[in-house]
């Protein structure tokens, strides 16, 4: 994942006839992290989706080196499948190595739940399962949308450790949150209404 890079230039997003943000500039090199802050509805999730390429940018450009992994509020794991197999599907699509899922489960303290069907997992466990999917993907750029929601103190520490390890390995983290997160983020990008960006 070395060589990951992310550069947003003058990015703007228009949704439902409303300008969510504009003039967002951000440059992250390998090992760089950024925290998106701002009140509800200011466009944090939309910015992540624009960066992920799932929404078109109204203006500006996204330049990205390295593959991406995204967590949002949707689980995207097969409910009836055991957790390890549900994660395995994505790991195979990502061509991750055979131990990637086991390592990711271990990093999120989910190993004892590997054989439990996804639908039986609690809210916090599901959130950790999503993070395990991100870890197992081996992607260079992590886009985390409210990764700390529903996590208890111990799990929040696991999240912080996973993010720190990813940054140390030369990855990039762009996280949106309205809660303080244990992310050692050198860049904070505050989205205010009409996008008077702080970074």
């Amino acid at each position: 994942m070395t060589g990951a890079a992310l550069r947003l230039t003058n990015l703007a997003c228009l949704r439902g006839g409303r300008m969510l943000f504009r003039g967002v500039n951000l440059a992250l090199a390998a090992g760089g992290g950024a925290l998106l802050t701002g009140p509800n509805g200011v466009g944090k999730s939309s910015l992540l989706r624009v960066v992920a390429g799932l929404l078109p940018a109204f203006a500006g450009t996204v330049e990205r080196t390295g593959s991406i992994a995204l967590t949002d509020e949707r689980l995207a794991l097969d409910m009836e499948a055991p957790l390890a197999r549900a994660l395995d599907f994505w790991a195979k699509l990502d061509r991750a190595d055979g131990q990637a899922v086991a390592r990711a489960l271990d990093a999120m303290a989910l190993t004892p739940l590997a054989d439990v069907p996804v639908r039986m997992l609690s809210t916090g466990q599901r959130k950790r399962a999503m993070l395990a999917r991100v870890i197992a993907s081996g992607a260079g750029v992590w886009l985390l949308d409210e990764p700390g929601n529903g996590l208890d103190t111990a799990s929040t520490a696991l999240l912080g450790a996973a993010v720190a390890a990813h940054l140390a390995a030369g990855g990039i983290v762009l996280a949106a949150s309205h809660q303080p997160l244990p992310i050692d983020a050198p860049v904070t990008l505050a989205l205010a209404d009409y996008g008077e960006e702080a970074a």
């Binding site: 949704r15 929404l55 949002d72 995207a76 097969d78 009836e80 499948a81 994505w90 699509l93």
Partner: protein, 215 residues
């Protein structure tokens, strides 16, 4: 190819887990067992009309799984996660079409055998019916998937899917039921042409629909 296999295998597993595979089969058998009650036990009448009746049943059965084809994966974020990995929506639809047909076509063709016995169809008609279904079920699967991609995310998408699919399915019904009484094979060729057309456009139209429905 590996990608296609991974996606299709998951789709098939999902269909199996959701028990949706039995729905079209049960529907076809139910219709076949109800039909003699409605028109009476006249074997000649049943034999003459039963084949067409089974085509209607197969057509309506193809609408039953439409709800679960695209909407759960769209709402669950699975389609977005696949797109993140640079996999085209067309590939997703091709894999889903293959998986959907495998879970829908062959079971329906097998269920046609007991259904044909209930309707006292003779051997020659059963053979034509099975050949027609072999050619026609990919088209029915494609049509179901196409309307599923178009209506994914809309309210009361199930009813809308029926309204969208049934007019488009009319050629399939005409040519499919036409093969039963037609010795020249022309209806079979038209059925094949309609089937090829639907299977060919579904990946592109469905892929575009998934992209357009993303917000």
């Amino acid at each position: 190819m590996r990608l296609l296999w991974l996606l299709a295998a998951r789709d098939l597993r999902q269909a199996w887990a959701s028990a949706g595979l039995w729905l079209p089969v049960a529907f076809l058998l139910l219709v076949a067992s109800l039909y003699p009650f409605a028109v009476g036990p006249d074997a000649a009448l049943l034999g003459r009309t039963g084949g067409g009746m089974l085509w209607i049943a197969a057509l309506l059965a193809s609408l039953l799984p439409v709800d679960r084809l695209v909407t759960p994966d769209r709402d669950g974020g699975v389609l977005d996660q696949i797109a993140l990995r640079g996999i085209g929506e067309e590939m997703v639809v091709i894999a889903r079409l293959a998986a959907h047909w495998l879970g829908f076509g062959p079971p329906l063709m097998i269920a046609t055998l007991p259904a044909a016995a209930l309707l006292k169809l003779d051997g020659a008609i059963i053979v034509r019916l099975e050949i027609g279904l072999l050619i026609g079920t990919p088209a029915l699967a494609a049509l179901g998937l196409l309307v599923a991609t178009l209506t994914a995310g809309l309210r009361s998408s199930g009813a809308l899917a029926g309204l969208l699919a049934l007019p488009l399915a009319v050629p399939l019904l005409i040519f499919g039921a036409g093969t039963l009484g037609d010795g020249s094979g022309a209806a079979l060729k038209f059925l094949g042409a309609a089937s090829l057309l639907l299977v060919a456009i579904t990946p592109f139209a469905g892929g575009a629909a998934i992209r357009a429905g993303r917000e």
